[in-house]
Symmetry: C2
């Protein structure tokens, strides 16, 4: 039994009001994978990089015990590259460069040792590749979580809808939920999206936390108020990794556990933004995570005898 | 001992995507006063209306048991009038008309029977009038809550800063907190504002809930996800009324009670927006409020054994 994550493994170059990086390691599977390892093992990755990626970069993932058998290395080719600049509010950004490179014709290979997959995270990626991954798994996983974005709603909606019909949980942000449903209020958007396939919907609202809909219930998770957000890149992916990692850890899918998974996802995301790239997610320990969970508890729990 | 509320008592004309009203009863003191009555009595109002206000409108307040001795009726003059149009997102609005009328030279009179004031809400109004009110109270109240807005930061910042030095709690929205502090992140803005006078700061974030800062702690309250917001007018005032009403009810100022007060404020605000104007706040009962509090609890409470 394992947790399998498919998504991009990339080079990012990031500019924020706090500074600027050269090419550093990024990608949806990278952030989600690192985050998940703090809650569950084994974590097995599916992805593709170019020969330019370098062993020291692959080691960032390997040293957290991540199984890389499903990560193809295409010698003589270049890794997916994304470059972006965050605005002063850190909530919006401009994409400066997107070079698909090895991602352009990515054909996911699923090693035999990954067929024990019980928890599957379809990280942000072409819906077609997500569909192929689902088709190549011999057994339906116990839980499939999908993280996607507006780009695929604009360019590959039919495929995305096919993916949606096969997943248990969808995680998107508020603007994307409005776009996908064609409804302005999030309650109505959620109602509509929950008829498209997923049993649970998570709406990520950045600094305003997240909403979880499903089983006729709603849960509102806070975001940790931070004095400085250093680099928001990968926060959504870290959320998804923490979320599915927690559920793989407890092993039972209930609304109660889903709520806690959203808190763990939020906690991992709150670490991610404290430093550039994957830096913070490489150096966490269980004590820090326990303390962060306690902060979320203090932040949002109250007791009314009424 | 009593809860005294000063603020506007007004005519509003409102346009929303759901419809349009003629002149209906509005004003900060109106909404806050009605909301507070569900948690504490007596509630005593200070304000001014014109002869055009009409007994049936004053009765909306009187029938909830509100003491109106401090409300001056200026015969032959017109009441404060505000008209606004909400955009489709219901989070932004255009002011169409503002006629100060009787508010232009409002000189607050504090009846002798109001000098037992223990809880004072300075509703949104000219800082100069708020200062006069504070000066005319013979005893410092146990708790002073200030609700204000960006308009006074733009036009009367010196006076507003004098008010700030005399209040215990400030309630403003996120954009106003950023403006007042000159800081973008809310954590830094809160730190700065808490050096300006108030011991506690509430940052209202509309559909994203509210943050409470003070005593070195932070609390994040959710907003109830609503399928339809019918008319947001008065939501902030209802929040302030419910907030101070709860604290007057429990009688002890602790962070624990402040947190609960934010939840009660949020609950009263969530009722307010369900109908036009004061309609919903006139017809509540304790069972509905208890159920709403239970909804807030279910919405945001979790249990992690970690």
């Amino acid at each position: 039994m394992s947790l399998v994550i498919i998504g991009t493994i990339a080079y990012d170059a990031i500019e924020t009001p706090f500074g600027k990086t050269d090419k550093i390691v990024g990608g949806a599977a990278t952030f989600a994978g690192l985050a998940a390892t703090y809650l569950y093992r084994p974590v097995k990755l599916i992805g593709v990089v170019g020969g330019d990626f370098g062993d020291e970069n692959l080691n960032i993932l390997k040293s957290r015990g991540i199984d890389m058998e499903g990560v193809q290395v295409k010698e003589g080719q270049k890794s997916f590259f994304w470059s972006g600049r965050y605005h002063n509010d850190m909530n919006s950004r401009d994409t400066l460069v997107t070079e698909l490179n090895v991602l352009a014709d990515f054909d996911p290979v699923i090693p035999a040792t990954y067929q024990d997959c019980e928890y599957l995270l379809l990280g942000n990626l072409t819906p077609q590749v997500q569909l192929t991954t689902l088709a190549r798994l011999q057994h339906k996983p116990k839980l499939v979580v999908l993280d996607t974005m507006n780009f695929w709603m604009d360019t590959a909606l039919d495929d995305l809808q096919k993916v949606l019909r096969q997943v248990d949980v969808l995680a998107i942000n508020d603007a994307e939920a409005r776009q996908l449903a064609g409804e302005y209020t999030l309650v109505k958007a959620a109602e509509k999206i929950l008829t498209m396939g997923p049993r649970y919907l998570i709406i990520k609202k950045g600094e305003h936390g997240a909403l979880l809909f499903g089983d006729g219930q709603v849960f509102s998770a806070p975001a940790l108020p931070l004095a400085d957000v250093f680099d928001p890149t990968g926060a959504g992916d870290s959320f998804a990794g923490g979320f599915i990692g927690y559920l793989a850890n407890v092993g039972t899918i209930t609304f109660h556990n889903m709520k806690n998974a959203v808190i763990f996802g939020s906690a991992l995301a709150s670490f991610c933004v404290e430093k550039f790239g994957t830096e913070r997610l490489q150096e966490l320990d269980q004590t820090q995570i326990r303390q962060r969970i306690a902060q979320f508890t203090a932040l949002s729990q109250f007791e009314i005898g009424y």
